[in-house]
């Protein structure tokens, strides 16, 4: 791990409460440009909440989050600035159902970036080709398979030319035979040097792509290590138990 580059994402003792429930407790995390991080942990451990705080889909209740030099506060300009740098991919795709694939990919470019129509469409087709479904441009999301929809969702985020991509369990809602087509696209992206923070239970992906694997439990970062160490010599009892449970099948 090099220490020369300054982190693009920095979380300092971040906490998040939902009423009495503490979803995140005292989380410290630094992500450097180009780094690929996989976060795993049991259901309800706060991993989704953590990445949703990074682009302010959730508001953290204590601590500090700085993304690309912008601190996340209630200042809307900083939130907009941060969201422009971050692409997000959701578990349930969240494509706009009433728009064609092409329009799903151009709408934010045109409204947020003010990109002219022809240029936005060219960018959209470029990324549809990268996720290998340019022939689906004229279709509506409901006419695609789950795997195709998720690839469109990845392309939609990439059209905004983000510096960071957040993945919130991108393959959890997919039928088994479609998982690999989405993972392939993510591996491609990793090869291009994109900064990626992925919540996923795809341990094969974590092993082959991640620079660092993080285990969370009950709102805390319990353990983080390079994949080799993480999978073969987990330090924490809970990490070991979790790995035994998910690697059993």
């Amino acid at each position: 791990m090099s220490t020369q580059t300054s982190p693009i994402i920095r979380l300092v003792s971040v906490g998040k409460r939902f009423g009495d429930f503490e979803a995140l407790v005292d989380v410290d995390l630094e992500v450097r440009p180009g780094e690929r991080i996989v976060i795993c942990g049991p259901s309800g451990s706060g991993k989704s909440t953590l990445i949703r705080c990074i682009n302010r889909m959730e508001k953290h209740t204590s601590g500090t989050i700085v993304v690309n030099g912008h601190e996340l506060t209630d200042d809307l300009r900083d939130i907009d600035a941060v969201r422009r740098e971050i692409g997000m991919v959701f578990q349930s795709f969240n494509l706009f159902p009433h728009m064609t694939v092409l329009r799903n990919l151009t709408i934010a470019q045109r409204l947020v970036r003010k990109t002219p129509k022809a240029e936005a469409e060219a960018v959209a087709m470029h990324f549809l080709e990268r996720v290998r479904i340019p022939e689906q441009a004229a279709k509506y999301p409901a006419q695609l398979s789950g795997g195709q929809q998720q690839r469109v969702a990845i392309a939609r985020a990439l059209c905004m030319k983000p510096r960071i991509m957040l993945f919130d369990e991108p393959t959890s809602a997919l039928d088994p035979e479609m998982i690999s087509e989405v993972l392939e696209v993510m591996v491609d992206l990793a090869g291009d040097g994109m900064t990626m923070v992925c919540v996923t239970h795809e341990m094969g992906f974590a092993r082959s792509v991640a620079d660092r694997v993080i285990f969370m439990d009950r709102g805390r970062l319990v353990e983080q290590a390079d994949p080799e160490t993480f999978f073969t010599r987990p330090q924490n009892e809970r990490t070991a138990l979790f790995l035994r449970q998910i690697l059993r099948h």
Partner: protein
């Protein structure tokens, strides 16, 4: 029937005008009501609740009468302050009636739109915000189109209500079809003929509106059909 066709034609045209104008107001009232009910402002919610309770709970013909005479009494009183010789001032029956039926049907549309807004998938909204779209952009490009599809079937009913409610406005003296039929009856002594014509014209109108609703639904659901 001879000699009455042009009267019916003009009356039908009036009905069409009332329908189009009240449709615009109805959508405005319905969207405002739904926005108020879904807002976090307690006063806005209270006003919207009072609105739907009153206009859904009163006979429509009464609302037409109250709005016309209520506004006329007020206008006359205010007018007399400036010119004591004024005997009667009113809002034209066309506008009083149009607003009255739009208020009533708008109260029903408020609930339709509210339910439809609640049916918009939160995932789409989240994706829009994550892409950096503003609240207003998200509302115009994501919420409204998705809401619209869900609202359309009951909205078709509201449009039919408006078509039929236009008949109520004859009571405040608008020369629409019932008004003409009544006149024709008193001269010709053929009430059934004169009123059945009105019925047939209304049926033609409502058939047109139903067809329009079906076409709109077909268009709004285009993304759910198999690709052609």
């Amino acid at each position: 029937m001879t000699g009455w066709w042009d009267d019916y034609l003009w009356a039908a045209l009036t009905v069409a005008k009332v329908f189009v104008c009240s449709l615009v107001f109805m959508v405005v009232f319905g969207l405002s009501g739904a926005a108020a009910k879904l807002s976090s402002s307690k006063p806005a919610q209270a006003v919207a609740n009072a609105y739907t309770v009153f206009f859904r709970g009163t006979p429509e013909i009464l609302v037409v009468l109250l709005l016309y005479f209520g506004s006329a009494v007020t206008l006359t009183a205010v007018g007399r302050l400036f010119d004591p010789s004024i005997r009667f001032l009113d809002i034209p029956p066309f506008w009083a009636g149009t607003i009255a039926i739009a208020l009533v049907v708008g109260a029903y549309a408020t609930e339709t739109f509210r339910g439809a807004f609640l049916g918009v998938s939160p995932g789409s909204i989240e994706a829009a915000r994550a892409l950096g779209m503003s609240g207003l952009q998200t509302f115009v490009y994501i919420r409204i189109p998705e809401m619209w599809r869900l609202a359309l079937p009951p909205f078709g009913n509201h449009m039919l209500s408006l078509v039929k409610d236009t008949a109520l406005i004859s009571i405040i003296g608008l020369e629409e079809m019932l008004f003409v039929a009544k006149q024709a009856t008193s001269t010709t002594g053929k009430p059934f003929t004169m009123y059945i014509v009105v019925g047939l014209i209304y049926l033609a109108f409502s058939t047109l509106v139903t067809g329009l609703t079906m076409a709109l639904e077909h268009h709004a659901n285009r993304h759910l059909r198999a690709p052609t």
